[in-house]
Amino acid sequence: MKRREGRGTRISRISRTISELENLAGLYAVLFIAVTLIGAFTLPSLLYQEDQLYPKTIDTNSSLNPYERGGTPFNTTEVRAQYPENSPYLGYVTAYLTPVTRFIADHTPYLGTTIVAHPGGIIDEILYNTRGLDTVAETSILFVAFAIAAHLFRRED
């Protein structure tokens, strides 16, 4: 190709584009769009695996709906974990209800989410017990991010 003053070869033009800091996010986005478009064509070949861990079971008549997973407090219940043998007390957290939530559960069938979010319940089981390390990483991220924000915010004085 012809060289022109101030433009350079094709390669040096590419080089100039990637050396611009402001183009960075755009470059990444272009790459990602390209991959996504290619991926969109392979979508029909993706098969949803019906045999999932921690599947959802809905029992609309339960007062714990949509988180009714059975079990009695201080006892275990059936939970489909990846490695049940690593969590000897698996299912105990799922089955537990605090006195407050037990009271709520006995009186109204519409507050299942509140009841299960209170200590105990399947989500706590996953977050604290079987996949606790995720929560360690995640709270650490919040900690670090906040440290950055606070440092920048307070540096001015």
Partner: protein
């Protein structure tokens, strides 16, 4: 539940879905920020009944409490633009 009643509720569901959709389109197409916020409110009006229909009253209450808070937060900058 009787046959007719179920049908009735189903019809209502579609109606609410329609409201939410109208809200979406209007919020997306309006140009004035305040009109947009009203559009968002219409979406909420369409979505909340859907939440209630599924029987999650606590969620519906919480969403109903938080959405106005979001709107007020957005209003903080809205006024400045309008001036």
């Amino acid at each position: 539940m009787q046959e007719g009643e179920t049908k009735m509720i189903e019809a209502l569901l579609y109606a609410f879905a329609g409201i939410a959709l109208i809200g979406t389109v209007s919020a997306a197409s309006m140009r004035d920020p305040f009109d947009k916020l009203i559009g968002i409110g219409v979406i909420a009006a369409g979505v909340l009944p859907l939440v209630v229909y599924r029987g999650y009253l606590d969620v519906a209450v919480a969403v109903a409490l938080i959405v106005p808070v979001t709107t007020i937060i957005v209003l903080l900058v809205c006024r400045r633009d309008a001036r």
